[in-house]
Symmetry: C2
Subunit: 496 residues, 2 copies
């Protein structure tokens, strides 16, 4: 046996003990250093931690519980739509990855290769899946023969691995948690419609569960997923003005199915091409929650996906009956269907309040001798810090009203922020100025040439095309960079 | 683009079309060829399929839905106990795997190695996790310092990879789906108790959700998990008389924590060792369900974890009102909380009945003009084929009574089978005869020497120690092989 860290353990333990004596430490202000604020929140809310493998994270109970709630919400939406869950292997043979040329070109540079199994060198390298289009096609090739076998609307919840050079918790990592949906259809139209249906499910989840507003639409040609004919994206705006690509839905046409030789026999007994889609939503969404809703006291969780909606905090718990009443309240709320916990530790009320705020629990109820005597409870909102007096007898009804109000207020606040940070520009000087003076999206026209985008990116310090705006009139006839006729109107932004 | 299989597609399609014309094909009888019967059921109930990577499977919608139900049941039990879910990386650095000597000796020969990330050769090999003890220890080393940080009762649902030489769906595969729980405690006793608590949770799940009886207990010394001080196991008896190791719970003492230098400071400010456990339950359980409950018509699912409890099958659906009534019944049952579907395809009722039986749905309701007129529905039990008349007005109450009865009857039947197939032997000739004439477990005494077990295995054609029997009086004083004093009484059996 080797003994690790025995030398340094003592020092570390001392440091930790000193920490515990303090109240929750202050975190960096998000207006002072947004990146540091983000790291502080991730760490102090105990969402995740670095692992022994560079670029891979340990998702801790608080972070994973949040992901479980998000999965539960999204999976419910999928099931209502008719999506079936499956599980395909973690490994892909190199020859399979190579079947579709654009796809392998896009992914081969960023996969991890398994070359040895047990004590033996493998005859063919296997990559740890970066995404599973080729595995689904390989399976469908075997099981889809007739029009009766279509559509296939399948999904899997898993992790994938892409050999990224840099990493940030939830935002970019070598291994990340997501769902990848893959579907196969008898017609072009059906597949195209499904691509958009899934985009809409993602939109619903962001708006109605995560309380995050967004812009959405088609990606520019050169920003599409490797091998896709169309990629649709949801782009949410973070507090620092950067965009977060938050979920994507891809339409492949018959490109992959044809490459894999997947054909079906139609009602007239004739062979036909199949049409394919894929769509993904990852734990990046947790990064979005942090950066849209968080504040200088820590995380602020949207109530509908908060693992705990309410924390009960006994005040003056040494007084007779307080602890009992607090536990009775927890039981009453649980019985009424609330996700609730209690902080009955021996820490001070101030420490407990700060801790509840740090981990972002949407409400707390303070209960002490005064509340017990008066029959009135104090519900404190995490988002506004508003203190709301509620008759104890009405708490099981009122708490729901309060958390719903929090959801709507959080969404409205974020939506106002988004709207206030969408600008327009018809010439490059204006655009540069917008990105210098403000943060957010700039609406501007573009010829469609990736070289022009590259130049814009260079002069604005990183603002690229986030998505096309296809349902509005162009604000200009010419490309903001080259002056040639505009092909697209686009949301430009700096991105994570 | 390469085009795969275009040559052979035509032939295959023709074969498939011919198949579809037939009713559900008969499967091999389980008394004629149990292995073939198993493969037939897995394939025809569309549970899983071979993938492009040897030894790895595609879990199809029917198979994965079953696993989701099992996960839901077990995860609910874990959460009620206080288990927190987390997610740790899929990759483990070689140096980390090597920290605990017995562990690396057990696992190194059967792991897959990642040697390249993107275009570069890695400085250190990473294995795809075969299990995650070392990752948890590496994390705890960082986060556990004080007695306040204990216990840690963590779990993750994932897949792991072990480079097995042979594979069978659900029973043995290179990649398999499971949960792995890992805990860390301040005292030996607390950890030891938790090891048994988790064994009991597994027992509850097998008995109360899967309707599978078992024997359970400690594993013999040489059958323990690599690095464990004690391994407890659940051993269920399959229809062919073989045992299936169905879940295991391991107590590590302070061996791993000490090797990793994990110490905590107690209330007296003194350093103390930590004590560890781990415990796992895999999709092998689906293999158990198939082999305990299945019959010659296919799968028979225990109702509590069946993804669909009841299938509504319209009969003479061309008659006016039948389809509408059938859909109305489905809605009524869904509203009452049942998991129910409908087969409204254009296939014949006979085909539909056979299909519902093949996929193991616990009940079906046949509804046609006669039922509509009489106001009586026919509920058919999958397990016994009993036809039960139920007044349509009472169906939402009665169906639950019927599915609960099915659960209890399935358990009782399997329990009788288990009890009828436990034998005793006090000499090796008797034991040989039991394994020749019968199938099941043989209770016999043993000196504890693995060499004796090896000899017994050889002469009985494969029967080894399944688990120790520690709460019963010995039936003999001597080892069934060598005649030396008996140290253990043991369930012997042939195993998957």
């Amino acid at each position: 046996m080797q003994h690790l860290e025995t030398e340094t353990t003592k020092k570390k333990v001392k440091g930790k003990m000193a920490k515990e004596k303090k109240l929750v430490e202050s975190i960096t202000s998000r207006d002072v250093d947004f990146a540091q604020w983000y790291t502080d929140v991730v760490k102090k809310a105990e969402l995740c931690d670095y692992s022994a493998v560079k670029g891979c994270f340990n998702y801790l109970p608080n972070g994973y519980a949040l992901w479980e709630r998000i999965m539960g919400d999204l999976d419910g939406r999928f099931k209502a739509y008719g999506v079936k869950n499956v599980s395909l292997p973690v490994l892909i043979p190199e020859s399979l990855l190579e079947v579709e040329a654009d796809h392998v070109e896009g992914f081969a540079p960023e996969v991890a290769w398994v070359t040895h199994g047990g004590m033996e060198r493998l005859q063919e390298r296997l990559c740890v899946r970066p995404t599973s289009e080729v595995l689904f096609c390989d399976l469908w090739r075997k099981v889809v023969k007739s029009y009766r076998d279509l559509p296939k609307i399948w999904n899997q919840w898993n992790t994938v691995l892409r050999w990224e050079k840099t990493s940030r918790p939830f935002l970019r990592s070598r291994e990340f948690m997501w769902q990848e949906g893959h579907t196969l259809h008898a017609t072009y139209e059906e597949a195209e419609n499904l691509t958009l249906d899934m985009l809409h499910i993602y939109e619903d989840c962001y708006r109605d569960a995560l309380a995050i507003p967004f812009v959405s639409g088609r990606k520019a040609e050169h920003e599409k997923f490797a091998g896709a004919q169309d990629t649709y994206t949801i782009e949410a705006l973070m507090y620092d003005g950067r965009a977060l690509q938050s979920a994507t839905s891809h339409f492949f046409g018959n490109k992959f199915p044809d490459a894999f030789g997947i054909k079906y026999v139609d009602k007239n007994n004739e062979y036909q091409s199949c049409y394919e889609t894929s769509w993904g939503f990852s734990a990046r969404s947790i990064g979005g929650i942090i950066m849209v809703h968080g504040d200088d006291s820590g995380l602020v969780l949207p109530p509908r996906i908060a693992p705990i909606e309410c924390r009960v905090i006994p005040v003056a718990s040494h007084k007779e009956g307080v602890t009992e009443k607090a536990f009775a309240l927890v039981e009453e709320l649980k019985k009424a269907g609330y996700r609730v916990d209690i902080d009955d530790s021996d820490k001070s009320p101030g420490w407990k309040f700060a801790d509840q705020e740090m981990v972002g629990i949407p409400t707390r109820i303070e209960i002490g001798p005064k509340e017990i005597e008066s029959g009135k409870l104090i519900v404190v909102r995490r988002d506004t810090r508003e203190r709301i007096e509620v008759a104890a007898a009405e708490i099981t009804v009122k708490l729901h009203e309060i958390t719903e109000q929090i959801h709507h207020d959080m969404y409205a606040k974020a939506e106002k922020f988004l709207k206030d940070h969408i600008y327009e520009a018809t010439n490059i000087e204006d655009m540069k100025a917008k990105f210098q003076e403000s943060r957010g999206f700039v609406k501007a026209c573009w010829c469609g040439d990736p070289e022009c985008e590259g130049e814009v990116k260079y002069v604005t310090g990183g603002a690229g095309t986030r998505c096309l705006i296809e349902d509005e009139e162009f604000i200009s006839d010419t490309c903001i960079w080259c002056g040639k006729p505009a092909k697209h109107m686009v949301y430009w932004g700096k991105a994570y």
